[in-house]
Each structure stands twice: as structure tokens, then as C-alpha cells.
């Protein structure tokens, strides 16, 4: 016992020493990259959530091309969307933020409020000509922190064959939507599908109905807001929409639609590449219906903004800003819009795009009037978004009426 203890104790000490050395070595390795060449910046890091293989490759190429014009190599990393913010927060506290950071537009104000981002006016980046909505989403306390090359929103996708077979026209109002959905419902198939799950995704899907009807995220306990939610509950009650909507993500909606299990769905243009791959699926896109003819359709603005985080090297930031300006330049944004079926965020470029890609013109008009989710509530938006999605779930399960559910949502949103 005793004789064997000594050698192993020594072995452990050696092991600990080795580990310490290894740690020190890697620590050094990490540090030298940034410190060795203080003046000459040769490479930048970029972080986003484009993990889809095709999309990742397209963005890598775009970042490389824009990097070349700025004379730098760009190391591109993508993490899954749900882990982006936790990663950014960790990096913020360890001061290891990337040189170029992509953020989903409703998160920008939250991150800008921490002080981790730099205002873009510092780099004399041209922010004129951008659509109002996306510029406001990228602005915090009067300064622009993030710019999105392209934006998107949601619309109504319909199965042309099913509509023709049922003799139904593309619905323009809520009344038409209800009767169309009812007539499109068959054994094993529902009329319409939306995402009403327990995440802010459902809030995003309800917003066009709520906003177009005059509802407001600051005052959820209004009849206009309740009418919007009632539209969804009516669709479930009449059997035109599956209760499984409570569990569906937007990707699930796509699967339902592609499998012919729903005739209509609310979804975004980023689904188009995959829908195009299915040759037997004949689909169309229309603006979402409004309650009454003459109401103006207001949809939520989607899209990711690129930012330049704080770091200790102004020359790196300057280079990063050059890459960011290139990403948001008219030519690059037009090319990326075509690749991803999104809409260029500069109004003039969007108009040219609508001429070149007529199938996207519906989205171009919707996006012009699209509203940013953080324009009214700013950093308080995440709380309200959760409250609204809980209200959607309470109403669709029948636990509460739409009014009661939204009244409670208002209390939760303002109470915290």
C-alpha cells in the first residue's frame, strides 16, 4: 500500500505539471494571433447563425469576396440560432467578440444596450437609402449599430392545385380566409397551418394579423388585438386548422405544406429554395389577408443585421467596417437577395430587384411597410414577445378566451 502510493503520487504531480504546461501553451497560442501584428490586419473573424450547408457556403463566399476588397481574410463561423446569443454574451464578458457579428434584428437593441457594439457612424458608413423599418431595427438611442443587406417578412403560401380543385380564390380578407380554409379541409388535410408554438416564433406569426387590424404591442388588451387572436381560435374551432399548430415551428409548417397536409401556410421567403426543389408541388405566394378590405397590411420585419463589436484594435474595426459596408453595398445585396429569396434593404435596389425577379414582387411591397418588432418597446421586446406567445397558446387550447389571454399578457408584459 505504502510503497505503491509514492510513485503514483509523483505521477500525479507530473501529470498536473503537464496539464499546467499545456494550458499555458494554449493560452499563449491564443494570444499571439492578435498581438503579433498590431498594425497590419490580415484576417478577421465573423460569426453568424447560417448553419445550413448551402447557406453557410454562400455566406462564406460573400464574406471572402468582401474581405478581399478590404484586403483581409475572413474566418467565418456559424452556430445554431438558439446558441448565438448565449455565445455572444459569453464572448462579451471574456472580451473575445468576433470582428464581424451578425444578429437577428430584434436582438440588436438588446446587445447594443450592453455597450458591446460600436456605432457605425464612426466608420463613415453610408446608411442612406435603407428602408425605414430595417434602419430603425438597427438603431439604438439614435445611432445606427447594425445594417441588414437583405430583409424578409411572412406571407401566405398556397397550394395552387388544391385551390383549383376546391374552386377557391386566394383569400384577401379574414372572412375569405375562414371560408377558403374550411372548403380546403379534407380527410387527412387541413385548410391552413400557422406556427402557434411556445416560443416567440408564434408571436412573429400573429403580428401581421394583430398590426394590420390596428393592434399594438404596447396595449395588448384592445378589441383589435383580440379580434386577431380570435381569427386563429376560430380556425381551430371550425376544424380548418390543426391543434398541432401549438407545437409546430415554421420548419414544421413547411413539412406539412410539402406533404400536402395543409393547403395554406403562413411562412417566409427563405422557404422558397426548398419548395422549388419539389417539382410536383405547385405553389404560390400572396400577401396575408386583412380583416376588412381597405385595411393596410403591416407585417413584421425579419432579417439579420451585421455589426462591428467593440475590441481593442481600431484598425481591425476599420477593416471589419469595410467588409460590412461591402456586404451592404447595392451589388452585394442584390446578389444575396437573389440567392436567398430575400428582399434588398435599400429601397432603390429593391425596386430593381422586383423588376428582375417578379415572383418576389409581393414580398418587396410587403417589406416596404414592414415594421420592426423593437421599434416601440426596444429592449423590453423579449418579455412582451413571450407574453404574447403564452396568450396565443392559452387561447388556442381553449384555456382562456382571446380577450382574457391578451389581458393577462398585458399584465405580464408591463408587470415585469
Amino acid at each position: 500500500m505504502n510503497s505503491s502510493a509514492r510513485p503514483s503520487a509523483r505521477r500525479i504531480t507530473t501529470l498536473l505539471g503537464t496539464v499546467a504546461l499545456a494550458l499555458a501553451a494554449t493560452g499563449c497560442g491564443g494570444g499571439t494571433g492578435a498581438a503579433s501584428a498590431p498594425d497590419k490586419v490580415t484576417s478577421l473573424t465573423a460569426l453568424d447563425y447560417y448553419t445550413d450547408a448551402t447557406e453557410h457556403a454562400q455566406w462564406s463566399k460573400r464574406l471572402t469576396d468582401c474581405g478581399r476588397t478590404a484586403g483581409v481574410k475572413v474566418e467565418h463561423t456559424s452556430v445554431p440560432a438558439p446558441s448565438l446569443l448565449p455565445k455572444v454574451l459569453r464572448q462579451a464578458s471574456s472580451r473575445t467578440l468576433p470582428d464581424l457579428l451578425m444578429l437577428d434584428n430584434p436582438d440588436l437593441q438588446q446587445i447594443a444596450s450592453t455597450g458591446a457594439l460600436t456605432p457605425l457612424d464612426r466608420y463613415r458608413i453610408d446608411t442612406t437609402g435603407f428602408a425605414e423599418g430595417i434602419l430603425s431595427a438597427g438603431t439604438y438611442r439614435g445611432k445606427v449599430y447594425g445594417l441588414a443587406p437583405t430583409v424578409n417578412t411572412i406571407a401566405l403560401f398556397y397550394n395552387k392545385d388544391m385551390l383549383a380543385e376546391a374552386g377557391v380564390a386566394v383569400p384577401r380578407t379574414w372572412g375569405e380566409l375562414k371560408s377558403a380554409a374550411a372548403r380546403l379541409t379534407r380527410q387527412g388535410r387541413y385548410g391552413i397551418a400557422v406556427s402557434a408554438n411556445a416560443t416567440p416564433e408564434s408571436t412573429w406569426q400573429l403580428l401581421p394579423f394583430l398590426w394590420s387590424n390596428g393592434g399594438d404591442e404596447k396595449h395588448l388588451d384592445t378589441p383589435q388585438a383580440a379580434q386577431a387572436l380570435r381569427l386563429w381560435t376560430d380556425l381551430v374551432k371550425s376544424g380548418s386548422m390543426s391543434k398541432s399548430a401549438l407545437n409546430w415551428t415554421q420548419a414544421d409548417l413547411h413539412d406539412q405544406f410539402a406533404a400536402g397536409k395543409t393547403a395554406l401556410m403562413v411562412n417566409g421567403p427563405w422557404r422558397i429554395p426548398a419548395l422549388n426543389k419539389d417539382r410536383d408541388l405547385h405553389w404560390g405566394v400572396a400577401p396575408l389577408p386583412v380583416r376588412q378590405k381597405g385595411q393596410r397590411l403591416v407585417t413584421p420585419l425579419g432579417g439579420e443585421v451585421w455589426t462591428v463589436p467593440q475590441n481593442s484594435s481600431p484598425s481591425r474595426q476599420e477593416k471589419a467596417a469595410q467588409v460590412l459596408a461591402c456586404l451592404n453595398g447595392p451589388t452585394t445585396m442584390l446578389a444575396s437577395a437573389k440567392e436567398h429569396f430575400t428582399v434588398p434593404s435599400r429601397t432603390a435596389v429593391a425596386a430593381r430587384y422586383a423588376e428582375q425577379v417578379p415572383s418576389m414582387s409581393g414580398f418587396v411591397t410587403s417589406v416596404e411597410r414592414a415594421r420592426s418588432r423593437t421599434v416601440e418597446l426596444g429592449v423590453k421586446w423579449p418579455g412582451t414577445a413571450t407574453a404574447i406567445s403564452t396568450a396565443i397558446q392559452s387561447a388556442l387550447t381553449g384555456e382562456q378566451t382571446p380577450q382574457e389571454a391578451l389581458r393577462r399578457a398585458q399584465r405580464t408584459a408591463t408587470g415585469s
Binding site: 454574451l89 450592453t114 390543426s242 397536409k261 413571450t386
Partner: protein, 303 residues
């Protein structure tokens, strides 16, 4: 090396040796368990937001975070859900696990193979099995409802994941399925440690299977049972991934437990201070439950 001249050095080594054995484990525990817990405790007394990550400024707010989460109506509901989920899961896992362990104690052809196959749910990543269950429990196209309809047991589908009362049952069932291998493995090894002579003697005395279970198996299995139950309760209280994947806490917060609520506060609403407070409530709860149970178990063992 071990000559008389080296004696003082040997003595020193002997004194140091035990410490050197303890130090790595102690450092590990302090670094990876002590630090997060202390940090979490600190966070729960601070207004810890996204800005704190960058600026490091987190104003001390005393017990405000606790007061806010405890007074909210959502807390009592989440607590009740947590209790129902934990009690249901642990009871189900234990009963089925024990039944399977007793079954596999008898030797029969392919018994060993079947027993190892039983471990499969344990080997699968939780996200994979939870996603599969989500598909299987789908109200319209799920295999579970299709089977029930085909057998004419239900007229229309059961809203496994979309009914507010059914969803909690569903996540509990999924969690029972996940926990069975663990229960079976521990209880099976506990059963193997019971000497076979005891059963032979009991048989000679005329004891039937029920009597020998009551007077031999159960008392001698007690250590394994308490391990399984304490770990089961602690593991189930903190279950997050299964619920997040299967129902996301919905519908309408019906499957929102203290663990998912803490996750939501921290990582969806970025209120890290309150999220930490909720996490600490959970730690205290599992600590209290574990202590109560171990106490009761010790008393029962001495009785």
C-alpha cells in the same frame, strides 16, 4: 531509496501523499461545482442583465429577484407541475424498472441480450429520443394515435401534446421511458447481490414468491432502492431538454416546470438575476427532498 538516511523524507512524503490524492478532486470540485454555485448565488441577488456581461456592472438588489419570482402566479403553477412531473416520473420509472429487474433475474434464453437492449434509451441522445416522441405523439399523424384509432380504442385522436392536461402526462410518460434503463440497471445489480441461499431457505420454510419478495428481496434491496429514488428525484427535478423538445413548456405553460422557467427567464428573457434565483430555488428544493428522503430511509432501516 528506502535506506535509514532517507527516513525523514519518507515521513514527509507519507504526510503529503494523502493530501496529494485529495487536492485534484478538491480543485476540480471547487472549480467546476463550487464556483458556479457561488456565482449563481451572487447573481440571484443582483440585477444581472445582458449589459452585465459586457460592463460587469450588476447592482445589488437584495432579495428582490426572489420576491418577484415567488410572488408571481406563474411560480405556484410551475411548482405544482414540477411536483406532479417528478412524482409521476419517479413512481413510473421505479415500478417498471423494478418489474423489469425482477423479470430479468430469472435466467432464460436471450435474457442477457434483451437486458442490454433495454439500455438503448439511455444511449440515445435525449434530443433525438425526445424529437422522435414528439412525432409519435402528434395528434393527427402520430403513430400512437394511429394505433389507438386502428384498435378502435378512441374515436378521434388524443391531443397528447396540445391538450393542457394531456401534455403533462405525455412528457411524464416520455421521461419514464427515458428513466427505465437507469432504474433497471441499478435495481438489477442490487438483486444480484442478494444471496441465493436466502431464497432456498425461504422456499424450504414454505414461503411463496410474495412472501419471499416482502421478507427477503425488499429489505435487502433497500440500499439500491434509496440510491435509485434519490437520484431519480434529483435528476427529474432538473429535467429540461425533454420538456423543451417535446412541448417547449406549452401548451399555455402546462408543462412549464421550475427548470424550464429558469431557462426561459435567463435565456429567452435575458433576466439572468431572476433566472439564477429560480435555479437556486430548484437547488434548495432538491437538496431538501434528498435530505428528507435519506432521513426517512435511515429511520426505516433502523426500525
Amino acid at each position: 531509496m528506502t535506506g535509514p538516511s532517507a527516513a525523514p523524507r519518507t515521513r514527509l512524503r507519507e504526510l503529503l501523499a494523502p493530501w496529494l490524492f485529495v487536492v485534484p478532486a478538491a480543485v476540480y470540485l471547487l472549480l467546476f461545482f463550487g464556483y458556479p454555485i457561488v456565482k449563481n448565488l451572487g447573481m440571484s441577488f443582483q440585477q444581472y442583465t445582458t449589459a452585465t456581461f459586457y460592463t460587469g456592472a450588476a447592482p445589488f438588489v437584495g432579495l428582490r429577484n426572489y420576491a418577484e419570482i415567488l410572488s408571481s402566479g406563474l411560480f405556484s403553477r410551475a411548482l405544482l407541475t414540477t411536483v406532479l412531473f417528478t412524482a409521476g416520473s419517479v413512481a413510473g420509472q421505479f415500478v417498471l424498472g423494478l418489474a423489469l429487474a425482477l423479470f430479468f433475474r430469472r435466467s432464460f434464453p436471450l435474457g442477457g441480450l434483451l437486458r442490454s437492449l433495454l439500455l438503448l434509451p439511455w444511449l440515445l441522445p435525449l434530443v433525438v429520443s425526445a424529437t422522435t416522441w414528439k412525432w409519435m405523439l402528434d395528434a393527427d399523424d402520430g403513430v400512437v394515435n394511429n394505433a389507438l384509432r386502428a384498435l378502435h380504442l378512441v374515436p378521434s385522436g388524443i391531443p397528447w401534446l396540445t391538450g393542457t392536461s394531456q401534455a403533462l402526462v405525455s412528457v411524464t410518460l416520455v421521461n419514464i421511458w427515458v428513466g427505465i434503463p437507469f432504474n433497471t440497471a441499478i435495481l438489477y445489480s442490487g438483486l444480484r447481490n442478494i444471496p441465493a441461499q436466502l431464497y432456498e431457505a425461504a422456499e424450504l420454510d414454505g414461503a411463496g414468491p410474495v412472501a419471499s419478495f416482502r421478507h427477503i428481496t425488499w429489505p435487502l434491496l433497500r440500499p439500491a432502492v434509496s440510491v435509485v429514488l434519490v437520484l431519480g428525484v434529483v435528476y427529474t427535478l432538473k429535467v429540461l431538454d425533454i420538456i423543451l423538445v417535446v412541448t417547449g413548456g406549452g401548451p399555455a405553460d402546462a408543462t412549464q416546470t421550475l427548470a424550464t422557467r429558469s431557462y426561459e427567464l435567463s435565456f429567452q428573457r435575458f433576466e439572468f438575476g431572476r433566472g439564477a434565483a429560480m435555479g437556486n430555488v430548484l437547488i434548495v428544493l432538491s437538496l431538501v427532498l434528498a435530505l428528507v428522503f435519506l432521513r426517512a430511509d435511515r429511520r426505516a432501516a433502523h426500525a
